[in-house]
Symmetry: D3
Subunit: 316 residues, 6 copies
Amino acid sequence: MKFKELKVGDNNIELYALVIDCKTKQTVNQTPYYGLILSDGEDQADARIWTVSLVNNLKDKAIVPGEVYKFTVKVNDYAGKNQIIIGQVEDVDPNYVDLSSFYKSAPISEEQLRTEIKSFIKMIKNPILQKIVVELIGKNADKYFRHQAAITMHHNYRCGLAYHVYSMLKLAKQAVSNYPQLNADLLYSGILIHDIGKTIEITDNKTPSYSLEGNLLGHIVIGLTMLSEVIKQFGFEKTDEAIALQHMIAAHHGELEYGSPKEPMILEALALYLFDLTDSKLAGTCEIVGKTEKGTYTTQIPTLGRKTLYVPKIEE
Amino acid sequence: MKFKELKVGDNNIELYALVIDCKTKQTVNQTPYYGLILSDGEDQADARIWTVSLVNNLKDKAIVPGEVYKFTVKVNDYAGKNQIIIGQVEDVDPNYVDLSSFYKSAPISEEQLRTEIKSFIKMIKNPILQKIVVELIGKNADKYFRHQAAITMHHNYRCGLAYHVYSMLKLAKQAVSNYPQLNADLLYSGILIHDIGKTIEITDNKTPSYSLEGNLLGHIVIGLTMLSEVIKQFGFEKTDEAIALQHMIAAHHGELEYGSPKEPMILEALALYLFDLTDSKLAGTCEIVGKTEKGTYTTQIPTLGRKTLYVPKIEE
Amino acid sequence: MKFKELKVGDNNIELYALVIDCKTKQTVNQTPYYGLILSDGEDQADARIWTVSLVNNLKDKAIVPGEVYKFTVKVNDYAGKNQIIIGQVEDVDPNYVDLSSFYKSAPISEEQLRTEIKSFIKMIKNPILQKIVVELIGKNADKYFRHQAAITMHHNYRCGLAYHVYSMLKLAKQAVSNYPQLNADLLYSGILIHDIGKTIEITDNKTPSYSLEGNLLGHIVIGLTMLSEVIKQFGFEKTDEAIALQHMIAAHHGELEYGSPKEPMILEALALYLFDLTDSKLAGTCEIVGKTEKGTYTTQIPTLGRKTLYVPKIEE
Amino acid sequence: MKFKELKVGDNNIELYALVIDCKTKQTVNQTPYYGLILSDGEDQADARIWTVSLVNNLKDKAIVPGEVYKFTVKVNDYAGKNQIIIGQVEDVDPNYVDLSSFYKSAPISEEQLRTEIKSFIKMIKNPILQKIVVELIGKNADKYFRHQAAITMHHNYRCGLAYHVYSMLKLAKQAVSNYPQLNADLLYSGILIHDIGKTIEITDNKTPSYSLEGNLLGHIVIGLTMLSEVIKQFGFEKTDEAIALQHMIAAHHGELEYGSPKEPMILEALALYLFDLTDSKLAGTCEIVGKTEKGTYTTQIPTLGRKTLYVPKIEE
Amino acid sequence: MKFKELKVGDNNIELYALVIDCKTKQTVNQTPYYGLILSDGEDQADARIWTVSLVNNLKDKAIVPGEVYKFTVKVNDYAGKNQIIIGQVEDVDPNYVDLSSFYKSAPISEEQLRTEIKSFIKMIKNPILQKIVVELIGKNADKYFRHQAAITMHHNYRCGLAYHVYSMLKLAKQAVSNYPQLNADLLYSGILIHDIGKTIEITDNKTPSYSLEGNLLGHIVIGLTMLSEVIKQFGFEKTDEAIALQHMIAAHHGELEYGSPKEPMILEALALYLFDLTDSKLAGTCEIVGKTEKGTYTTQIPTLGRKTLYVPKIEE
Amino acid sequence: MKFKELKVGDNNIELYALVIDCKTKQTVNQTPYYGLILSDGEDQADARIWTVSLVNNLKDKAIVPGEVYKFTVKVNDYAGKNQIIIGQVEDVDPNYVDLSSFYKSAPISEEQLRTEIKSFIKMIKNPILQKIVVELIGKNADKYFRHQAAITMHHNYRCGLAYHVYSMLKLAKQAVSNYPQLNADLLYSGILIHDIGKTIEITDNKTPSYSLEGNLLGHIVIGLTMLSEVIKQFGFEKTDEAIALQHMIAAHHGELEYGSPKEPMILEALALYLFDLTDSKLAGTCEIVGKTEKGTYTTQIPTLGRKTLYVPKIEE
């Protein structure tokens, strides 16, 4: 059952939900309770557990954010909105319940992403570039194809990192046709590895957060370290290919004030920056616009500095 | 004969060249002479006319920038470089000499551009959008398909404006496939007319410059005026289509400090801005990179704030 | 009766007040109530309606922000401040109650403003400028003379737009005497129409807000569209007068980052910008300073980026 | 005789001119000569002295910038422009020649300025303010009424400082009528003394330059020091009048990045800043616009960051 | 007894604490109570007084922030944290209780600071500089050696101003050895007096705040006024020493946007700015880092724009 | 013989000088000549070779910038300044002439720098930090102790890099005593290696320039790569010591817009940034101030954005 199907007065409803957040709170007369934010895979909703001892029967003796539970609830009216009151909570056996629908994921499957991205890697004819890219993605493949690309911004879902790379590659392919001066091998290689550092910057938990390296170094510096190790392993240190790839990771935020220690100084680094900018702005915005009724304004959009857009009533 | 074929000691060489600039100067002992900048369609070169009376036999009794002449020259060495000394100058009969090679033009012909752009216009199914676009481009077609897009920056050549639009449309087509939330009709319409004001901002001479309206109003305000006239003519004033198109012209520079009176507030305006940015940065840069030897640095690139890029030695 | 006359313990007091805001809220034990912000024309005050069914006898079955009602109230002490508890609410018959005192208005009447502004229009001797100004103001006269100039900033009251224009005209008249190089006809014309787009940017309700055109285009673009229609109607398209007026509307925010697509490029556009800046900063600030006791600090001032000023104790 | 009356071929012409600059130069074959910039009080012109020994008969054995001399000249053509060749140079007896026309001065005389400014001082009724202003201007009166207000920017001529103050006072008088909350006594007092530090910042020579205090402290800090001395002399240290005046000098550049150590925090300081901004932008611009033909563009305008304006062809 | 020793269930505990803040609040059923923030000299804690009449027996009939009281308390559990409930409050006799531990103070005593700073003053051999420094510090000695240097930023504790000067002098001494071109006399003199205006900018109460002069003029302008009085008193007005010291106070914030009316234009002013920056950033940060467990992140650091640092687990 | 000893009329003077620059030029009548910039180790001077065949007897058949030659010269007067005319030029045998005086070097010798820096390395007690620092400096020792720290800014001379590190270490030692919360081991380690990437960023020639890695990656990214190789070699990858050192190199420019991909997030990184800033500003400035007469202004100072300082006449 989805949250949008609930209505005031419902009672003894069983539903499965992912816990986004669970905090101990206290009523004005100082009785403790739990305030939760739940997700049914589509929408989020607030809920309350008035009886804190309810959680004692759980495996962990506590409600763990990032896990899915089975809840038995009733629905009250609170200031004109539904309020979910939880009467019972039980652990879920992943063998019997399909959890995938609770975790937001990329629009296409991990398998498809692996296939599509590999077909781009095969297009790289320059042997130095290909070796570096194959090795760097290969040794980090599990994380590379499953990681999310951000915590709160664009592509913040499973396989978000790989999906972001795939979208950029498609824009780049069109650009290679528009602008024949672009070196396709170099451009594809740069796009494929530009965010490799995110596999370490963001932890791989159910509720991802920034690692210590993520906070102190950031994914550009981490990615440069990962790349330089592969370059050394193959003995490619002084090649233009190696230096160009290092430059492309370093410069992919486009401007110093966005955290790039160098601004783009080769054509393909400039193109990489422009496609990264385009995809990061459009992907996050499209997701929110897609949920907004025509003729109304969207909610605040994180990748646009919390701006609000209008969705015009225009038929195609 | 091209400039790059000239060598010191050549004499009585006949060549056709476009005059970029022609200024009266004076030697240290105060003898007047002409200093010229010539173009053979590929390269530019300095030249001098020591005998100022040479020009008297010309139709205009003067050398007019923007025109092609037949010159008879010799080549001196000046500080290690070729110096072209003009001994004779004659008018050129356009019936006997093909002038097109002297004027820089878009990579594809005006006819092809008309065909390609019209095929995009046909894809617009929304009747309001289509009517506006057809009318606005139709009544300005001659200028629209022949104008250059800028004076010193990107696409500063014949048909540059239409070629810029065409490149953006191709990027947009890929994006419509990547991001299904984009309204293709609106996005294509916006791209097709976003720079329409440039047909008035920049004069249509052989040596284009900014018009009075161009200086005082700029192509965004001029384009908005041209658009609002067509909107009124059809009675589309309060439609979302009309307001969205006006917004897209107003917002296409993306940020207030780049001269847009509004920042993008609809998804397709955001996409338009990103493709305009991408094409304007890449097109101008590619042109210069294409003329640069691998393993060396380019000349200063106007669209990149006069930055210099490195062109790596990497085989595809 | 005014809010400042109320004191704790008052009961069964009848008072007329304008509703600024009315929201449904809920007590900790989840009983709904209404939280209101009222205005007596001078001050604002919070109030509560504990019995939500009270509103059922109203014409609209609801309390509508922007309307004046008759309230019967008592006054409690809440944390050392007056708390107004509403016991009864009734519709008001505008035929029997003078509502004008509840709506903030310009310091002089609409009639005076019409007279003063028309006398400036008569000073314009240049026939092109005069025709444009007369037509543009004439066809929008009702809104032009009644609109407020902003929603939260300066001149946010009835006739605020016209009063802002009038204040600028007086500054300009002194300037024309200081600086004889100023073209008075052009300067007055520009001032008279510079904010004409606000008649469409801001809706003309009792509680004004931004229209769709206001949000997507802004008053500069809207004003330019209104002006270009009048220019076309008279056939003045290529005159310096028409282009100068268009430029003055476009440039009146003075800098690109304040939303002007062009910075002032004629002397009178520069002067217009400076008087607009001066009046917008001083008018809003003076209003707040006028309500502040000498020797103390003001509340935060919206037009000054929420800064606080000191009002010195200095006798004149 | 004025420079604009000279024509090529003139010989043995006697003219009086102010020397703006005089530098020793050298021809290509290393013969020394003098390159001069002369002013006839209206225009400037370049001139040359080929015989350097010519200056030996002068009182100072040298040509001193800032002085007026009698020159005997001929006029050559140099690259299409007049070139003044000086054949003889003589000292000028100020008893026989009226030098005033060579030095640029305010549009009204020093006497008029003294009268006008004193009438404003008399309007100040607050005794503390009046005492401070009378004393501060009185003890610096000679410099105050004769100094120029800047070296290269606006009001860079004799009596420029006092004329700038007078223009601001007239704007302020209109503003006091527009905005009754303004304390006229405080505003006039602040305007009268805001630039008092310029009497020390800029040296009082025929060719003014920045003094050491000017370079290291600037006119705001110097003015504050001059004011605090007068405040102490009268024992007004802790009065709101004294603190407000100090604040007004400190804040009159309006923003920290323009060199004010405090931004305006009282209403009259805000008004002072706005009138200073307005007069400094308009006065310098008007002077250049007044010399520009209608329908053309001005030269670069120093107070507008070297921007160029258009002067429209519009009759009043 | 210190706050960290309290545990839930404690009752009738007597403790001495400094009141940071005391506000009247109200429970949901509108019973008033006091909410306090207390300090035991090391940590801060919230506390409540449910019986407002408790304060009637105090000398001031009220709890005054900045004073130390004796409290009798019990400790409840509130949402898992200690909640201090005050049952009794009494005035404290300073003759019997040592209050110094409740007020945060510099790491070394006022006496030591006086000794250390005087030894630096004695190093100044230039008689003009020494006279000025001795007089300026001498006439303000009480405030100079006891004032805090800021309200919320760095060195916001008793003797903070003098301790800040002392830390800078030690850095400067090392720098004089590194860079022999530094004039030690001038550098030490400038450091000694650079913040003298803070003795007037910040009031000398137990709970310091900004004075009117502090708000309207700031410590740079106040310090310049204090300095110029001493310069005049000795007749040092035109000396390089006096002008250099004035410049050093004016320029010590380093950049216009940080409130300096002039940027450093002498070497020692540049050095002064750099040591001021270094000490202000490091002192405040070190204090917070010193309280943070290794391997964790600090709280937000005021002098770093509220950034959070990581304290690595690294042994020395 | 030094340049300052030369006077007009000198002939057949022999002198040794380092060639900074040598360009082929041409007189107005198109005769080629060489224009040189020479250095005698203290000052620079322009010189000319009119007879271009003079260079044919040299070993390289050309004058090579960065080399010292023996010149035979005469001295002409050119526009009031000495002009050196070279009559003869010969190669120099380094076995017979001491060339060291022609190359600018650090104030103390390479040997002293090695000793001083090693004594700081020995103070590092933490074994991980010490191993990393010893290895990183050890394997690059020749470049580390001889490189210059910049091309045009501060420390642009032999051993400039090591001297910059040494100056910072001395400031840091004082700071460790001022601020006991600083981890001295970490701070010294960070300072010792922060600029290690400059050994590759800047080429090690007699006339240093930026390498390809220097242009495309910069010394921060290069240094990070060098460091991560050593970290991997010892297996220190996940230690706080390794991550902290990586962070310190990444953050040492202090702000994103100065090229640091991360701003300081640990205390010692903040301190490192502040000492780097202090030494880079003071060292370059002191050098120029040291050559400037008291009571005059300096030339433009590169590290201060080309600002000019005043050197006051103040005795110590």
